[in-house]
């Protein structure tokens, strides 16, 4: 039946061209996709200069009568590059068609609507979902890393499902969030992750394989319609929809592995015992006796000295698996997409894993021709078994795997965990056996989440529609953290349960209008109203003293502990309008205005107005350009506008007197004294704080040359953020630390380049390149009260410098005469000890350039993508080296490089003399409170981010077993890195506003390898 239908459809399509019977010979052939080799149905095949033509059938096959003399075939299809082929005397002509990479006729998703890319006046970068289809990434932000000019993305954690920093055109805010606004099918996502048991990423609720496209609105012209939320850019994620036609079923299966790379090389038992003994001798401490080095750390000359690798015990090759099923289709009235997925990824550290299941239903229905209703329902469930990271925690494997003493083992002879660690009983790492801890502590986070919406649209008159939208991002996380009684330091066992909920919903009504008056004028516009509310709350409870580690409910604990609760909410509402006028398809003017109100500000400063205006000129449409045949398209554009940022804490504008939390960490119960409740000032308010405002200027040029062989854009932007919402530090003798204020200006300025093209296209072989490169100049322009310097949350800020920079003493190496580390003081002299006056700016933590380079090779269904990602110009401070680069002075195991310690006068090395305690004659060899550039290094890197090799099994073979499509692929991520960074991973340097300030124990990325198959039924 299906076959018959197809034949009828094809016949109907061919009928209009039937007058061509008179021609005297026939050419046939098959039109296939250059990307995957599949047959392309519906392609127009015409004889140039005539009305003779046909379209390809469902398998991409065509047949056309042509004159005996031949001629030229023209093959065209929307979205593909039109091709002309000389017939000659051939009877069979197979043609491969490529995507129209110029994409200038393409439609892009913009705020509350869509626009044709060729008439855009603002700055929008976009990525199609194919780019990260089937990549072993857990969230879309990882999938678009390095793909977009002006969008700098780096991991804050390499943990599976971990978070990333996404920075659109720099760092505009010092204290408010710098995260862009993420919108998934109209739902404005909450910024807050729902578990603290691992690195948590709010975007991980969305299966990247469900995504059709990602658009980043980078300037005021494109983003001002989001007003007060637009200063950090807006990322619009659109998921796939069903298409009219037969129902497709795609199944994808992948398996793979993840491996750690570039881990620190630490000493073995003998090396460690040797340097410890030396450090004791140098410090005048005994080798023998109860506190002697040999007793505590072992005797290096002991042939039976223990040598245990904690690192090898804790790191591993983890498994990856992904299973995806999606079904889509539709008819005239209804279309649908249904997808299910399961993904599992183990970490490179033992016990750590992440699992996610997702389900999605995208449904559109037109009960009558003017009315469209639709819903996108997305459900996900994430389960994380986390690992302690991002801190100098003795119970975190990224610290203790390297610092635990190799002269002690994790196990007793009978295989049980050694307690207390280490065998000497010295109490190193608080006696905590890290291998036992990682194996036995439970750090479980479970988060069900939905990002779902409902929409309705009605066409009042042609060109005028009214739309309603309501969407919700709701998640309910539960964290269970068990510290079992089998670990002695947690005497009796401890259990902490945190239950969190975040509910963010937004609703809007828009009226969209578009009208063309003849060939000259075109006008379009949007007007609307929007409301958003976000509510976060949760309960923390804990209980101590458990009879057995297998019992984990709070009700099993014998010692009652205080419970705590938290609650925050905020609301925002806005009205907005945008109008665009196009004259003769070449002169374009666009204006946007939005007025927003936020509960985060006091009544006097609650509302702000944001706006943008932009113009564009499509020079290539002018008649005087007609002679320049190699130029397909050329547009220049300029935009200026003001957008806002209000991503600060919810209630900062008023002074609060309340009950503080008890306990210096953790349990947020109300504090008490002598059984009585406590009240104190918990926040100093400032009711005149208002919006951060960012004035954004953008100019750009878009071009397409040589029939789409070379295309791209170049842009310059200059953004100044005013009224920075600072935590202005107060003198602590006031009893308080800081207060919010609107002070200071930050400049971000840079160039964004995107360039794509076909380098080689010959004999079915095609080599395509897509590249982007961005520069970023960040500068603090002013501070409150014309100060030149300010300490903000303990971080130094200096006018004229970037907003994040290393502020350190200048390390001057080790004095060859005596093995002490030195610095260069403010007068340029060498010194052993620096003061505040010797501390200075040492470069920047913010990358000054970044980008990506994708190389795509394809030949007869074989496709190879080689993708490099890079960033640079920044330094990073590696706090791990405080522990690991200590010249044997501490009880921690250390880098093998520490064996190059200074030993004799004249030794040239950067490792000081081994000296127990690390303080030689009162001088801290790591430069104490100020720190020096000793542990600072250039964090620039180039990374081979992705290599994917895929093969589309030819249709002829595939169809024999009743399938539509079979694609097999192998891929690898993070395969190679070039860097000078003195740490594990230059990408994952723990974050401060997306800058590269490293800290202790970050979770680096792993190398991932995957193989998989996608089958279309």
């Amino acid at each position: 039946m299906k076959r018959i239908l197809q034949v009828i459809i094809v016949a109907l399509l061919i009928l209009p061209f039937s007058p061509a019977w008179a021609q005297d010979r026939t050419v046939t052939g098959k039109v296939t996709s250059q990307e995957d080799g599949s047959g392309l149905p519906g392609v127009n095949v015409t004889l140039k200069g005539t009305t003779t033509g046909t379209v390809t059938n469902v398998d991409g096959v065509y047949s056309l009568s042509v004159p005996a003399s031949g001629g030229t075939l023209v093959l065209s299809f929307i979205g593909l590059k039109t091709q002309e082929v000389q017939i000659g005397n051939r009877a069979v002509i197979d043609v491969q068609m490529a995507s129209d990479v110029t994409q200038l006729s393409e439609v892009v998703v913009t705020g509350y609507g869509v626009q044709e890319k060729r008439t855009l006046t603002g700055s929008i970068s976009s990525v199609k979902g194919d780019v990260f289809q089937n990549l072993p990434v857990q969230s879309v932000d990882r999938g678009i890393q390095g793909r977009l000019a002006g969008v700098q993305i780096s991991s804050t954690s390499g943990a599976p499902g971990g978070a990333l920093n996404v920075r659109v055109r720099g760092i505009g805010s010092i204290n408010a969030s710098n995260d862009p606004l993420w919108i998934v099918d109209g739902v404005q996502l909450s910024r807050f992750g729902q578990t603290t048991q691992g690195s948590s990423n709010p975007l991980a609720a969305i299966n990247p394989n469900d995504i059709e496209s990602v658009e980043v609105l980078k300037d005021a012209a494109s983003a001002a319609i989001y007003g007060a939320q637009a200063a950090n850019g807006v990322v619009i994620v659109t998921t796939k929809k069903g298409k009219k036609g037969k129902t497709n079923l795609d199944v994808s299966i992948q398996r793979g592995a993840v491996q750690p790379f570039n881990l620190y090389e630490v000493m073995d038992g003998k090396q460690f015992a040797t340097i410890k003994a030396e450090s004791y001798v140098n410090a005048g401490l005994p080798l023998t006796g109860p506190t002697g080095a040999h007793t505590v750390f072992g005797d290096p000359n002991d042939d039976n000295l223990t040598n245990f690798s904690w690192r090898d015990e804790l790191f591993r090759t983890g498994q990856l698996a992904t299973y995806d099923i999606s079904m889509s289709g539709g008819d005239d009235k209804t279309s649908f997409l249904l997808s299910l997925s399961y993904q599992m990824q183990e970490g490179q550290i033992i016990m750590n894993d992440w699992q996610r299941g997702t389900a999605r239903l995208n449904l559109t229905h037109k009960p009558i021709s003017k009315l469209t209703i639709g819903t996108n329902i997305s459900l996900s469930y994430q389960r994380t078994f986390g690992s302690i990271t991002n801190g100098n925690f003795v119970n975190g494997p990224f610290q203790a795997a390297f610092t635990a003493q190799p002269t002690s083992t994790a196990y007793n002879d009978d295989g049980t965990f050694r307690n207390p660690y280490p065998s000497s009983g010295s109490g190193h790492l608080f006696g905590y056996n890290i291998v036992q801890g990682v194996n036995e502590e439970v750090r479980l986070g479970r988060v069900p989440q939905t990002v779902s919406s409902f929409n309705i649209g009605y066409e009042i008159i042609p060109g005028l529609t009214i739309n309603g939208f309501a969407g919700i991002d709701a998640s309910f996380g539960t964290d269970n953290n068990q510290r079992p009684g089998t670990i002695p330091v947690f005497a009796g066992g401890q259990m902490v349960v945190v239950s969190r909920r975040t509910i963010a919903y937004n609703a809007n009504t828009t009226v969209n209008y578009t009208k063309r008056f003849g060939d000259i004028h075109q006008i379009s516009g949007i007007a609307g109203f929007e409301y958003r509310k976000e509510e976060r709350g949760g309960v923390t409870a804990s209980q101590f003293t458990y009879p057995n580690p297998a019992l984990r409910l709070l009700s099993s604990g014998a010692t009652a502990r205080p419970a705590g609760e938290f609650f925050f909410d905020n609301a925002r509402q806005g009205v907005f309008a945008q109008v665009k006028y196009t004259l003769k398809d070449r002169y374009i003017v666009d204006g946007t205005i939005r007025r927003d109100g936020s509960s985060r500000f006091g009544p006097n400063n609650r509302y702000g107005t944001f706006f943008a205006g932009s113009v564009a000129y499509r020079i290539s449409e002018e008649s005087f350009m007609d002679g320049i045949t190699w130029l397909d398209d050329l547009k220049i554009r300029a935009a200026y506008g003001r957008v806002g940022n209000s991503e600060i804490a919810d209630y900062d504008w008023y002074t609060a007197y309340g009950s503080p939390a008890a306990g210096s960490v953790g349990i947020p119960a109300g504090a008490q004294y002598l059984g009585g409740s406590i009240l104190r000032l918990t926040r100093l308010g400032n009711d005149i704080i208002g919006w951060e405002e960012e004035d954004q200027f953008n100019v750009g040029i878009d071009f397409s040359l040589f029939g789409g062989r070379l295309f791209g854009s170049a842009e310059f932007y200059n953004n100044v953020t005013n009224n920075q919402l600072f935590n202005v530090d107060l003198p602590t003798d006031s009893g308080l630390g800081s207060v919010r204020g609107n002070v200071g200006e930050v400049l971000n300025r840079g160039f964004d380049f995107e360039l794509g093209g076909i380098v080689l296209d010959r004999g079915g072989f095609q080599y395509r390149v897509s590249a982007n490169f961005s520069t970023l100049y960040n500068e603090l322009l002013s501070l409150p009260n014309n100060q030149q310097r300010l300490v903000n949350n303990g971080v130094q800020l200096i006018v004229g410098e970037p907003v994040a920079f290393p502020f350190l003493l200048q390390f001057a190496g080790v004095n060859p005469a005596n093995g002490k580390t030195m610095i260069v003081d403010r007068n340029g002299n060498l010194a052993y000890q620096g003061t505040q006056d010797d501390v200075d700016v040492r470069g920047t933590y913010i990358p000054t350039y970044f980008g990506g380079l994708s190389n795509n090779f394809s030949y007869k269904g074989i496709n190879l993508e080689v993708f490099f990602q890079f960033q640079g110009g920044n330094s990073a401070f590696n706090g791990d080296l405080y522990n690991l680069h200590a010249a044997g002075s501490s009880a921690n195991n250390q880098l093998v490089s520490q064996l190059n310690r200074w030993q004799n006068p004249g030794d040239i090395t950067n490792v000081p003399r081994a000296y127990q305690g690390g303080i030689i004659d009162g001088f801290d060899q790591q430069h104490g409170t100020f720190g020096s550039t000793q542990f600072l290094s250039d964090a620039s890197y180039v990374r081979l981010k992705q290599v994917t090799l895929s093969y589309n099994i030819p249709n002829a073979l595939v169809s024999k077993i009743g399938l539509n499509k079979v694609n097999v692929f192998v891929q690898g991520l993070n395969l190679w890195t070039a860097t000078k960074f003195a740490g594990i991973d230059p990408e994952v340097v723990s974050n401060n506003n997306g800058t590269a300030i490293s800290s202790f124990g970050v979770y680096p990325l792993g190398k991932q390898f995957m193989a998989g198959v996608t089958i279309g039924l």
Partner: protein, 488 residues
């Protein structure tokens, strides 16, 4: 049909649009402190600040021993290692937390006078006015204690200045309630600061209830909860602290008077008997306490026991305890034969090679215990030192010191003059070891710090700049009016 659709669309968007929020966690100060229970909660907040770990909860009780000569590092965990060798750094950092307690007290002192006396409860023992007086007296006491702690760390005592450096600390007598209150102030002189502390305590003595009243059943309004002695300040505590402050100021006659007055207010002024001295340190409430901070397990997180408790710093009595420091051999040697106080230092051949101090056994579990801030024994030591240093009253000094000595298993002394003073100083070292006094006792007398041999560093002369601690550098950068101590 069309209208229905359009209105449906509009309703979707306009439903429930409000910018109201519901902060469930806070009030304005005026709302919070418009009733006597709220004001008492602010007083309790100030007490709670005092047992933070960088106050009496840990550092105040340890750093005076570490910087001087009572500590020997046993396990190198990074803690107190730099203090023991007097490295250049920021130690004994009270600049933030002491001022937080001061700010809490200043809120009480601002809002308490605004209360309606008719709404303040009374009892058979205390009138409403005396209930208010007690709360005010407690605020003054906490403020004075916090300032005296700041002064001994950051300033020279009046008359003991090196190179004439006479700055005290920043004085604040009103709360920081709005931004302009947090102005950038200069340091007052040490004399002005000590005068400020003296005024607070003299007033507190007049306001606070006596220990006898405090222990009278039903004296405190039941609606205001507990006022258990010695966990909230009474008149004896104020007298005792004033005695200590006068001793630091070198006003020996006043110190003697106040110490005597403090003891006179106690139901039992006699020090703990020799036989029960060692066990007194494992009693939940120290029997000699004139003022003690109460700590409950709920005040700490699960890891504070091993991470931060005094028991963890000084012992390995529980798993995970760090046992950072033992008593230095010099401290042990300072004891005379027969001294029962040697009994708190535990050594045994098999596991403990160094004398482990057991003053802080964490008897409430997981390292939790109360912190005695002022003990009776200190009053006898103040009487003795004050009388001996005034001259002409060695007999009185002997009486005081011998009251203590005979309760510590020692014979009475009949030394006089410099010998007597040296004996009293040694007695202070031994009696108050591991309670954070040693460094400050040497400093206020202008004495050099002889370091223990194990520290491996030279004697620190009194005129070394490290005798004053560094004000946190961030504060100096922030506040151009704030002068750093010399040398940093």
């Amino acid at each position: 049909m069309k209208k229905i659709l359009i209105s449906t669309v509009l309703i979707v968007a306009f439903a429930s649009c409000s910018l109201e929020t519901e902060d469930q966690a806070s009030l304005s100060p005026a709302q919070a402190l418009d009733n006597v229970a709220g004001v008492q909660s602010a007083v309790l907040s100030a007490y709670r600040r005092l047992h933070e770990f960088d106050m009496y909860g840990q550092n105040s009780m340890m750093v005076g021993d570490a910087l001087a000569d009572n500590f020997e590092i046993v396990n190198r965990t990074g803690r107190y290692e730099q203090e023991v060798v007097n490295a250049i750094g920021t130690f004994a950092n009270r600049w933030a937390n002491a001022y937080r307690a001061i700010n809490d007290a200043n809120f009480v002192l601002k809002y308490l006078p605004l209360l309606n006396i008719n709404q303040v409860p009374s009892t058979a023992t205390l009138t409403s006015q005396r209930v208010l007086d007690q709360l005010k007296g407690e605020a003054l006491f906490v403020r004075a204690l916090a300032y005296s702690e700041l002064l001994r760390i950051y300033s020279y005592e009046p008359g003991k200045e090196v190179n004439g450096f006479n700055l005290g600390v920043v004085l604040r007598s009103t709360p920081t309630e709005v931004v302009s209150d947090a102005d950038k102030r200069t340091r007052s002189t040490n004399t002005e600061c000590y005068q400020f502390v003296e005024n607070d305590l003299v007033e507190a003595v007049n306001l606070l209830i006596t220990p006898a009243e405090q222990t009278t059943s039903g004296a405190w309004p039941s609606s205001l909860g507990a006022i258990t002695n010695p966990f909230r300040a009474n008149r004896a505590a104020a007298q005792a602290l004033l005695a200590r402050v006068y001793l630091y100021m070198g006003r020996y006659a006043d110190a003697d008077t106040r110490a005597t007055a403090a003891l006179a207010l106690l139901a039992n002024p006699v020090p703990v008997a020799a036989a029960s001295y060692v066990t007194s340190w494992s009693a939940t409430t120290h029997p000699e306490s004139i003022f003690e901070l109460e700590i409950r397990p709920t005040d700490w997180s699960g890891v504070d026991g091993p991470n931060n408790s005094l028991a963890s710093i000084t012992t390995n009595l529980a798993s995970g305890f760090q046992y950072v420091a033992a008593a230095s051999p010099e401290l042990i040697a300072a004891h005379e034969p027969g001294d029962v106080r040697l009994g708190v230092y535990v050594t045994n051949a098999s596991t403990l090679s160094k004398p482990q101090a057991r003053k802080w056994p964490g008897e409430k579990g997981s390292g939790v215990e109360n912190i005695p801030v002022i003990r009776k024994a200190e009053m006898y030591l103040i009487q003795a030192e004050a009388r001996a240093r005034q001259g002409g009253n060695d007999a009185g000094a002997q009486t005081a010191i011998n009251t203590l000595r005979t309760n510590r298993g020692l014979t009475a002394t009949n030394l006089t003059g410099a010998g007597l003073i040296a004996l009293i100083m040694n007695e202070r070292r031994v009696e108050l070891a591991f309670e954070g006094h040693r460094w400050f006792d040497l400093k206020r007398n202008g004495m050099d710090i002889t370091k223990p041999a194990a520290a491996g560093v030279n004697t620190l002369p009194y005129n070394d700049f490290r005798m004053l601690q560094q004000i946190p550098n961030s504060q100096i950068v922030l506040n151009p009016n704030l002068v750093q101590n010399p040398g940093y």
